[in-house]
């Protein structure tokens, strides 16, 4: 096998078909960029789960003087109720730790959280905020057991699961991921058709050469390899652009915009991006290689 010969054939083929090659590269790049985005979104969801599921708590809010809930009976929680609730919470096997937050502590945290909005802080007093038990569960998915045990108890205003707030956000991300993957799938179909058409045109424009190659006894591999490598090369270049796009998204959007504005949220790191890139190149190569191979079997038979 003469590498120089094969390489020069590839160069000739790509130049003769420049517009088609560009179309293939662009389609593959878009398809793989969306595919990669889907994977990045999944990595983002996982990163947030890892970060938050350790920290999410179930909040058992206790009745205050102005509580409207039926379980409060229009009165604040009594000392006895409070002690019983705490004892029962600590006795539950699902519960890891219980932490009591008084109205003053809640107010302090509220002021810290909204220090940029002094108007809001001025209008709220410590009495307006509920005292609560912050409950950390052994397994954050076991919220329902705690909720059913305490939601109807006298002195409990509301049981709130922070995980439910996160889940809404995760749902949005998962839908985004699904949309990205669906568009990627459509683009994959377009890429396969384009590659197969490009290879067909290339095979047709070089039928004189391939005809002579067949006559003098060149092997199938020798005849088909330049075409196959042309497809794979276009696929790899497309994957390269897709990889560049993902790196740019991570650097400009995630690190440049999102991270400074949402410092409390855990974002994907470079290791997540680097883990995805090999898959892009592998997918691009297989996509182009397989569609070229199938086309060649139909159009360049010995």
């Amino acid at each position: 096998m003469r590498a120089q010969f094969v390489l020069s054939e590839i160069g000739i083929g790509l130049r003769r078909n420049l517009t088609m090659t560009i179309a293939v590269v662009v389609t593959v790049a878009i398809s793989l960029a969306l595919f990669g985005s889907g994977l990045l979104i999944r990595a983002q969801v996982e990163a947030m789960k890892d970060f938050w599921y350790d920290k999410v708590e179930v909040s058992v809010y206790l009745c205050g003087e102005s509580s409207q809930a039926a379980t409060c009976g229009g009165a604040a929680v009594t000392q006895q109720q409070r002690d019983e609730i705490q004892a029962d919470l600590e006795a539950m096997p699902e519960v890891d730790t219980v932490f009591y937050e008084s109205q003053e502590e809640a107010y302090a945290q509220f002021r810290e959280q909204f220090e940029d909005s002094p108007d809001l802080v001025e209008n709220v007093t410590a009495e307006a905020l509920p005292e609560s038990f912050r409950v950390k569960l052994e397994d954050p998915t076991q919220f329902a057991i705690v909720a059913s045990a305490f939601a109807q108890r006298p002195g409990v205003e509301e049981v709130q699961d922070q995980k439910a707030l996160l889940e809404g956000f995760f749902n949005v991300l998962n839908k985004l991921q699904l949309i990205a993957l669906i568009i990627a799938g459509v683009q994959v179909v377009a890429a396969v058709l384009l590659i197969s058409n490009t290879i067909r045109v290339a095979a047709f424009s070089r039928r004189r050469e391939t005809g002579i190659m067949r006559l003098v006894g060149a092997s199938n591999l020798y005849i088909q390899l330049p075409f196959l490598l042309e497809g794979v090369l276009a696929g790899l270049v497309g994957a390269g652009f897709a990889a560049g796009a993902l790196v740019a998204v991570k650097a400009v959007l995630v690190d440049g915009q999102l991270r400074p504005n949402f410092p409390v949220i855990a974002f994907i790191g470079w290791s997540d991006v680097l883990a995805i890139l090999p898959w892009l190149f592998l997918t691009g190569m297989l996509l182009a290689g397989l569609s070229s191979f199938v086309t060649l079997r139909r159009h360049l038979r010995v």
Binding site: M1, R2, F5, R208, E209, G211, I212, M213, R214, L215, V216, G217, A218, S219, N220, Y222, I223, V302
Partner: protein
């Protein structure tokens, strides 16, 4: 070297078979003219030898191989032992004479050292020494056909198939090509040539196989083109 046993070839689009129960045996080193009018089956005959077509019935043996049993990945090896020349030369217009001949060696993976040595030799053999750097369109028809013969012969095949090699050439140029094919034949290469050219067949006095409507109607050693034709 070549043996056809009761070979029939029908194409699905035609009611009459292109070859009908053809039995021919050609020995090593023979020079055979395949004559007959257009559509008599000459081209199909040659294509069967290359396994470009598969017979509908009967057996084709080439260079000791039964082509029916030859698996498809061994077809390239078969074709390396057969050289081909055509009426329309089939040269690559964007390559020089040398590159055209070298192409046949490169695509079967011969190393550059062999190519550099063999190509000038074969160009000299066909009478084109010194014209290696010319482009095909700078050459006359006869010279272009010599390039095609050089390409077919550069790999020293056992068999040379020629499909009307003089069909596009004037009579005096044709004589030159025939002398070249005769010289190649004298090196021990079996030559099978399909032709319409009565003058050439008559002057060479070699074996003649005549096909008509896909049947062998005459097989004559030291024959002429036709009795009445």
């Amino acid at each position: 070297m070549i043996r056809l046993e009761h070979v029939t070839k029908s194409y699905p689009t035609s009611t009459r078979p292109a070859l009908d129960d053809v039995t021919v045996e050609i020995d090593k080193g023979e020079f055979v003219f395949l004559v007959g009018s257009s559509g008599s089956g000459k081209s199909t005959f040659l294509r069967l030898l290359l396994k470009e077509e598969v017979p509908t019935g009967g057996h084709v043996h080439v260079a000791g191989k039964d082509l029916h049993k030859l698996s498809s990945w061994k077809v390239p090896a078969l074709r390396r032992s057969i050289g081909c020349v055509f009426q329309d030369f089939r040269l690559l217009p964007n390559k020089t004479v040398s590159q055209n001949v070298a192409f046949a060696l490169e695509v079967i993976g011969k190393p550059r050292s062999v190519v550099d040595k063999v190509v000038p030799e074969v160009l000299e053999l066909v009478g084109l020494d010194g014209k290696g750097k010319r482009m095909p369109d700078e050459l006359s028809g006869g010279e272009q056909q010599r390039v095609a013969v050089a390409r077919a012969f550069v790999n020293r095949p056992m068999i040379l198939l020629a499909d009307e090699p003089t069909g596009n050439l004037d009579p005096s140029t044709s004589v030159g090509i025939m002398k070249l094919l005769d010289r190649i034949n004298r090196t021990g290469t079996t030559v099978v040539m399909a032709t319409h050219d009565a003058a050439i067949v008559d002057s060479m006095r070699r074996r003649v196989v005549e096909l008509s409507d896909g049947r062998v109607v005459r097989d004559q050693s030291r024959g002429v083109y036709g009795y009445g034709a």
